[in-house]
Symmetry: C2
Subunit: 389 residues, 2 copies
Amino acid sequence: MNPLPEALRASIGLRVDQIDTPALVIDLDAMERNITRMADFARKHQVLWRPHAKAHKCAELALWLQRAGATGACVQKTAEAETLAAGGVHDITITNEVIAPPKLLRLARLAARLQAQGGRLTLAVDSADGIHRLAEAMAQAAPQARIGVLVEIDVGQGRCGVPPGEPALALAHTVARQARLHFAGLHAYQGRAQHLHSAAERRDAIAAVVQAARHTRDLIAASGLAVPLVTGSGTGTLVHEAASGVFGELQAGSFLFMDADYARNEREPAQPTFEHALFIKTQVISRQGDRAVCDAGHKSHAIDAGMPQVALLPPERALRYSSGGDEHGILTAAGRKALLPAIGRMLWLIPGHCDPTVNLHDYMIGVRGGLEHGMVERIFRVDARGALT
Amino acid sequence: MNPLPEALRASIGLRVDQIDTPALVIDLDAMERNITRMADFARKHQVLWRPHAKAHKCAELALWLQRAGATGACVQKTAEAETLAAGGVHDITITNEVIAPPKLLRLARLAARLQAQGGRLTLAVDSADGIHRLAEAMAQAAPQARIGVLVEIDVGQGRCGVPPGEPALALAHTVARQARLHFAGLHAYQGRAQHLHSAAERRDAIAAVVQAARHTRDLIAASGLAVPLVTGSGTGTLVHEAASGVFGELQAGSFLFMDADYARNEREPAQPTFEHALFIKTQVISRQGDRAVCDAGHKSHAIDAGMPQVALLPPERALRYSSGGDEHGILTAAGRKALLPAIGRMLWLIPGHCDPTVNLHDYMIGVRGGLEHGMVERIFRVDARGALT
C-alpha cells in the first residue's frame, strides 16, 4: 500500500476544527461503541457476524472488526476481495454473483492464496452457468484449491438469487458435484426489508425470509447434502434473523457508521442502539438572502437515500439541507431566518447512505474526543474505493 | 503522476468486447465530433470557450480541448485547479467561491506558479468577506502575483452569487481596490435553466440572465471600472448566451460526453448536435424470471439525474434499467419478455449525469472504431477524481 499523502499524515494530532472541508470524518468513540454493541448482540444470540465491507471498503476497519469478534468480511466485488486480502483479511465472502471469466480466474487465484494463508474465499451463485464457469476457472487457475459456494435464494428482494425450494436444491447439488467447489450453504438477503420504516413491516418481511430459508435448508438437508450455514441480514432487520434459529451469520455492515436512512427506521426494542459515527464536515462558502451555501454536494455524499441531515445544532438553530448540485448544499433555517450560519462556519452532515458516500472519498479521518473538541487520531484509507470489477 | 496500472496498460489494443465490466468507456470518435462541433460553434459566434473540467476531471482532455481552441479550463474546486495545473493546464478559472484560509493560501501559491508559466488563475467571489480573505492570502503567500477575480451574480440559480446590479457593483469596486486582485468581470451561470425541458423555457430563462448580466455590466462600466468579460452558460443553453452579445465566454463542459439528461432536452435548432460519447460497459450476472441483473449500480454511475439508459439495442430488444442498489441494475424488457439478455451478455449504459459518474471512476477507457467492433486506443486518468477540497 502507498504511504499516506504528506498533508494527511500531518493532520494527525490536529484539532477537529482544523480539518479542511469537505471531509469524511469518523467519530471513533461512537464507532467503537457501535462495534461493542454489535459484538455483544452477536454473542448473546450465538450467531456469527461477518460485517459487509462494502460499507467501509477499508482493510484496517475489517481487521478491527475481526479483533472484536467478526468472522471475516463480506464484499460485493472481486476487486474488493483482492484489496481486502492484500490488506490482511483472510476470510472473505463475496455475497454476489461473478460471471466474467477474467474475474473468475482472479478469484480462483485468490482462493488459492487465502487457502495457503489458512483463510478461505466464498462466493454466491444463482445459476448453473455461473457454477460451471467458476468450476472451469478453478480447474484452470487453482486446481489444488477449493472455494466455498453459497447458493443465493431470492427472499423478496427481486434482484439476484434463484427462487427458494427446488431451484435452490438443484443448484446446491450442481455445486456439490464440482470437485473444487464446496457447498457452503445459503445466502438469503432481503435488502428491501432493511429500509421498511415500520418495525412491524420489517418483522413480517423477515418472517417470510426465515420461512423460505428454513424450507430450502431443510429440503437440501433432507436430500442428503449438509447445509453448513444460512447467511444474510442487514442493520435494519438483524434482530429477526439473529432470533430465527435459521441464520447462522449476520452480514450487517451499516451498524458501524449508521446513516440517516437507517436512523429514520422505527426502532425495534431488541435492536442495539447504533449511533451516527460517519459525518461530512462542510463549511459555509456563500450567504445570500434566506440561504447559506456549503461546500458539500453530491460529489461529497451519496443522495440515493435522500439528502444529508445537518447534525449537532440546537433546535433553534436547526438547518435544512437541500441539493445545490454536485458541489454545493443549500442550507435554510428550519426555524427563524436570523440564525443562518455565517461564511466560514463549519457544519456537520449525516449522510443519507453511508456505503456510496464512503466510495466517493479516498480517506476517512478518525477523530477522538467528539466532533466539537476532538483531535485527529488516525487516517483510514478507503482501500477499495472505486473497486468496481 | 503515477504510471498506469499494468492491467490497464495491457488493455490498450484490446477489442472492445474484451474490456471487463463495469467500466467507463469513451467513444473517441463521437467525442472528437463533439469537440469539432463546439469549436465551430464558438468560432461562428466569436465567443471564447472554456469547458468546465468538473465534467471530465482529466488534464489530458483539458489540453486536448485547448488544442481544439478552448481558452483554458473551468473548475469548481481548489484541488481540481491544482491537479489540472500539475497536468500542464495553465489558464484556469474556479467558477466557485473559496473561503477557507488554507485553500486560499494554496490558491495564492498556484496563482504565482501559473503566472510564472505565462498562465493565470481566476476565482469567483460573492462577498466582501471572501474578497478580503483572498487579498490577505495573496499578500501572505504570493505578494508578487496577481489573481483574477470574477464577481458572481445570481441570475436565477438561487445558489451562490450576489444579486445583479448594485450589490455586484459594490463588490467589483471592493475587488478593484485590492492591490493583488484584478477585476476580471462577471460570472453569471444559470444551472437550473440548463435542464428545463422546453426550448422556449430555456430561451426565456436565459433572456432574463442576459438582461441581468447586461444591466450589471453596464452599471459597473458606467462607474468607470472596465468589465473585461461576462462568462457562464452550459450545454443546455449555450445557443442563447453565445448569441447575446453580452457573454464573451462559454463554460459548457457536458457537450464533450452528452449525458442522458441533456439529451432529453427539447432540441434548439441552432444548437450543434452533440452525441453520447461516455458509456458504462456492463454485463448480465443474473437472469431470473422477467428480469436480468447487470453489474453496474450507483457506485458505477450517478443517479441524481435519473437512471441510465440502455444503449445500442434495436427497438424489439429495448431494455429498461431500474435501480438494483449500489452494485446492480435491474433490466426488464421494454417489449416482449423473451428477448431478455442471457448471463454474460455485455450491455452499454448512457449515464443520466456524466459529471458525478466520471467522479466515481479512476480511469476512462478510450475506444476507437465504435462500441460494437472498436479497439482500446488510450486510457485517460480521472486526475481530479475525489478532488473535493
